[in-house]
Symmetry: C2
Subunit: 385 residues, 2 copies
């Protein structure tokens, strides 16, 4: 099965336009345009998550892991070696709380959850309330706090183990400032400017933030001693990792490993996008979800039922399909059945959407139930001063 899925994945990459890299702009602050992932691997100097490495990952894998959403890495092999050797390892996946969370965000946090479930390691979730406050001009500190608390519940409701999960916010676990200061001393303004594209009109909190971000990534080692931490991220965040890997050495720490995830599709088209315009929010009720999918979800089906029955649809650009593939449909056989039906025209676009709506609403119903439980036990997860 694994092989078939990998083939599917490489096909998908090859369907992307060859000139896409020209139009793409990837900085830690902004992701625009279409993304050519092969080009990104080359440009960022990372390594592809190839079939050999993929075959080392332990089962069971959730959809985003088993179906090729992770395309690139740094030192994932070393992290797996360390795990195999019985060394301490950890996983870290942060969150910048500038808005509520939508279903696109779930595909990222499924990755640290996978490593926690299967490798039984501690997951750190640093919440950069300060970053979002610095970077978003109109965001007040009260807004950031509200989003932070809301996002934390959504992330934890995915099923993180309270005994193996550490969440901390920079405006609450302010003790981290003492560590960030030690990191900051090792980053000159000119380095920060070059790596993060800082401008003279940016505020000095924004200028300082790269130190805080690096501290987040090194925090497992600051508080638990040197070991390998794996950081699942979008590749647009890779400059942070590279800078942090250099800094890690200066503290006698291990360079953090990373696994790069493709961006989740936006609702209105499979062009990868991190923006939440017309997204399905985790707080959307059933009718809203149905309405949004019917109205906005980009379809790979044909203009008419007749044409669809004749020519079949294209699942690789169909957002409902892509979300089933990358997150909501755990069952490989069911997914194969959908692919076949959609391609041969027996499964209509409207039918696919209905199935997708049902899956999303079932997920969100269960999500909200788990969220309430997490809210009651939030102290078990939070690292506070």
């Amino acid at each position: 099965m694994k092989k078939a899925i990998l083939d599917n994945r490489s096909k998908e990459i090859s369907t992307e336009k060859s000139d896409a890299a020209i139009r793409m702009s990837v900085t830690p602050w902004e992701v625009e345009g279409e993304i050519n992932y092969d080009k990104l691997i080359e440009e960022f100097g990372t390594r592809p998550l190839d079939s050999h490495l993929f075959s080392r990952l332990k089962d069971p894998m959730p959809p985003p892991v088993k179906r090729g959403m992770c395309f690139s890495h740094r030192d994932l092999d070393k992290w797996l070696d360390a795990y195999d050797n019985g060394d301490k390892v950890s996983v870290l996946s942060g969150r910048g709380p500038s808005e509520k969370m939508h279903i696109g965000h779930l595909t990222l946090y499924a990755i640290p959850k996978y490593f926690q479930d299967v490798y039984k390691c501690t997951v750190y979730i640093p919440v950069s309330d300060d970053e979002k406050f610095y970077v978003k001009e109109d965001l007040e500190i009260e807004d950031v706090e509200m989003f932070a608390n809301d996002n934390i519940l959504d992330i934890l409701a995915m099923g993180f183990d309270p005994n193996k999960t550490i969440v901390h916010k920079d405006f609450e676990h302010t003790k981290i400032y003492k560590y960030a200061a030690q990191v900051a001393k090792k980053i000159t303004y000119s380095t920060a400017k070059a790596v993060f594209g800082l401008k003279a009109e940016n505020n000095i909190g924004w200028v300082f933030y790269p130190a805080m971000q690096a501290t987040h990534i090194l925090y497992p080692q600051f508080i638990e001693g040197q070991h390998l931490t794996l950081v699942p991220i979008g590749i647009d965040q890779d400059p942070f990792i590279r800078a942090t890997r250099d800094i890690a050495e200066k503290f006698g720490f291990q360079k953090p490993a990373t696994i790069h995830k493709k961006l989740a599709p936006g609702l209105e088209g499979p062009k990868m996008s991190s923006s939440g315009k017309n997204a399905i929010w985790l707080s959307d009720d059933e009718a809203t979800v149905a309405n949004k999918v019917h109205r906005y979800a980009f379809s790979g089906g044909q203009p008419s039922v007749k044409e669809h029955r004749e020519k079949g649809g294209n699942p690789d650009i169909d957002v409902s399909f892509l979300y089933l593939k990358y997150f909501f449909e755990e069952d490989d056989n069911k997914l194969e059945q959908i692919v076949r039906g959609y391609r041969d025209g027996s499964l209509l676009s409207g039918e696919l959407k209905e199935y997708f709506i049902e899956k999303v609403n079932n997920y969100l119903k269960e999500h909200r139930r788990r969220r309430e439980i997490v809210a009651k036990n939030i102290d078990k997860y939070m690292l506070r001063d």
Copy 2:
């Protein structure tokens, strides 16, 4: 008596070389050369502490206040008005702990202590361990902590009231980071660069620090609501105050007032200097103090006893005299007697030094006794997370 002392002060200013301002360099990070205080008032756009305002200050005044060490201010008149109206007022005097403290430092902290003693107001003492860590390349965080704890004991041993004194360190009371972030958002890199002379090779902690410094100055208002805070400082720190006064308005706070103190003389010459080379440290034992004064203390006496008896000495450039005047000799009559004796040649330089050594050693003996008491009660002063 007040008038005579003021006359003495203006004489002292007029003896300074007229081209001194050319050679002086006053930034928050470095003070060099000779200082022309009249020129500084003009350049910094502050107001002289004139005889009218001086006459409003309540007795009893300690030597640095009554003998002209405070030469300039911003809004001290408003602060006194607020006090007279029965409004809340506070005083704030920070410390950057990069070394142990010497007798030159005592002249600064005598000023907040005066306002606490006479005006019964709360004194805030923010300790910028982070600043010194950022700015001094070779200073490790452990060094900074050691100096911070040591300096705090020395400052408090001057007799601050445990019920009206709040001390906090940035690496310990890290809660302040949340406030500093709000201030940082209102300071662009280009503003910080212009005001504080930042360079591209400075680390990003250093770049962030102006926000922390402004937060220190506004902290009484952040935690106690808007009111007037008076900040006694060296005029080289005035750029911080100016920047902070602008920021204060953005938070609906009152612009902090300030009173500018002349720099304390260095041991080897009356040219004002904040450097501690060959200083008398507060930890020096009696023999060390005697040895340093005899060997290094710049004398205004004549080369030979014969010449001294004939021409008399010059107290205005004699470091032993200046420290008696600005700190150790509380008795105005005794000081006048010394001035007269030194000028008419009846008091020899060696005799003046002996008297100075006795005063310093008596002070330090008492200082160390009070320091031990403070150490036992340190929790009464410290604001921790």
